[in-house]
């Protein structure tokens, strides 16, 4: 079991800055994020997007901001659980919490801070009949361990970079690889697209263009996909696995089940300290809502500071907090 003072759910810019604010008050933080890397939507969706409204940074790329935040929090040595989604939170008798993730990691903490942005990033699912019924039974939305697919028949669907990259990679691992794509050209990296066409010409993969998977079948486990061509004819193909790769989409996920007051997919908070209706749980950044809320990174930073000062009272109920400026003795003097 991981033990910490504050468990921060969401490792986007606001979650990262919350580590800094908590660190100034000598509180330990553990961050959990469903994505395999920190940075949230900045790193996942638009790492090269310029941002203009960060004080002191007239123009900064999204990933550069994340990298700077990582440097800024390094002195406080936060710990991370990445690639796992928080599923449950349980209140303990002493008012602390146990947070459990999708991979059964348990984190014992005194305070929970939800900095979940738009929620969890979940795979975009195509409209294929019976798709969800076969999840974990042959349908998977990511390739965590390519060895799982060794000597198996694989069908991938999609036309972006991940569909191209995994088609190329798995062509050396699987018994057969079929890539089904709606169009007849690929707009992913030109080099990857060229490799895929070469592999198809060499007979190393099956390339099914201008087609969509419309249905899947199996008996307890996936065993075939039905592919509809542009002429509406449907062909059946036997397969062990289907891997739809259509990117990620944000969803609120299990947060909706934790007993928090939710208003239009956001958590209602008290603007005094960004606390929720559950004592010891805070919500900061894009995931919260209150009158006048602006979904801006800089507002999330401000919320982090107020949250940390309130959280201090939960972590150290018997200590008095004296306010200090970082300019006096640097960050390590706190």
């Amino acid at each position: 079991m991981i033990t910490t003072d504050i468990c921060i759910i969401g490792a986007g810019p606001v979650g990262l800055f919350a580590v800094f604010e908590a660190g100034l008050l000598k509180m330990r933080c553990h961050l959990v994020d469903a994505l395999p890397q920190v940075g949230g939507q900045l790193s996942e969706i638009y790492p090269y997007k310029p941002i203009y409204d960060i004080p002191g940074a007239p123009e900064i790329k999204a990933q550069e901001l994340v990298d700077n935040l990582k440097k800024q929090i390094a002195p406080f040595a936060p710990t991370f659980t990445l690639g796992e989604r928080v599923e449950t939170i349980e209140r303990q008798e002493d008012k602390s919490f146990i947070v459990t993730t999708s991979d059964h990691t348990k984190i014992h903490c005194k305070v929970i801070t939800i900095a979940g942005g738009l929620g969890c990033f979940e795979p975009r699912k195509p409209a294929i009949e019976q798709l969800e019924a076969f999840e974990g039974k042959g349908v998977t939305y990511m390739v965590k361990d390519p060895e799982l697919f060794r000597d198996k028949h694989i069908v991938l669907a999609g036309g972006g970079d991940s569909a191209l990259d995994w088609t190329i990679y798995l062509s050396n691992v699987a018994k057969s690889v079929t890539l089904v794509h709606r169009g007849d050209t690929f707009r992913g990296a030109p080099d990857s697209a060229e490799k895929v066409f070469h592999l198809a010409e060499a007979g190393k993969i099956n390339l099914v263009l201008k087609s969509n998977i419309v249905k899947i079948n199996g008996n307890g486990k996936l065993n075939e996909v039905l592919i509809e061509g542009s002429d509406k004819t449907v062909t059946t193909m036997a397969t062990d696995y289907l891997i739809p790769l259509f990117g990620l989409s944000p969803k609120l996920g299990p947060i909706a089940d934790w007993g928090l007051n939710i208003d239009k997919s956001a958590i209602s908070v008290n603007t005094f300290d960004y606390s929720t209706n559950i004592e010891g749980i805070y919500a900061i950044g894009d995931i919260n809502t209150y009158p006048g809320k602006l979904k801006l990174i800089l507002c999330g930073f401000h919320e982090s500071a107020l949250m940390a000062h309130s959280a201090f009272k939960h972590v150290y109920p018997n200590q008095r907090l004296s306010f200090k400026y970082t300019t006096v003795n640097g960050v390590n003097a706190f």
């Binding site: 939507q41 997007k49 975009r124 707009r187 609120l252």
Partner: protein, 110 residues
Amino acid sequence: MINITVLNKAGEERELEVPEDMGLNLMEILKANEYNVLATCGGMAMCGTCHVQVLEGMDNLAAHSDAELDMLDTLPDAESNSRLACQLRVDENMHGAVFKLCAEEDVEVA
């Protein structure tokens, strides 16, 4: 004023009047009219969360940019009439167009 028609995911239809001289794009118009469009990337054609289908008036709209086509290529429900609302500048060519929201989020209410 530009008049457009918007169908939400439930199929409910609304006529919107849009000022043409404000330099807004369709995504901003949809958000201003309280459609639950995430537009996660803020209008950079990078997230696909403002995906619409053009039911009428497709031929009058400006051509797709490369970035828009790249993004549409990754959306499982994209069709030949798909566009990203953030890439559609509102001008007189949009008058009379009919859009169907594909990426509108279901709002969870406590």
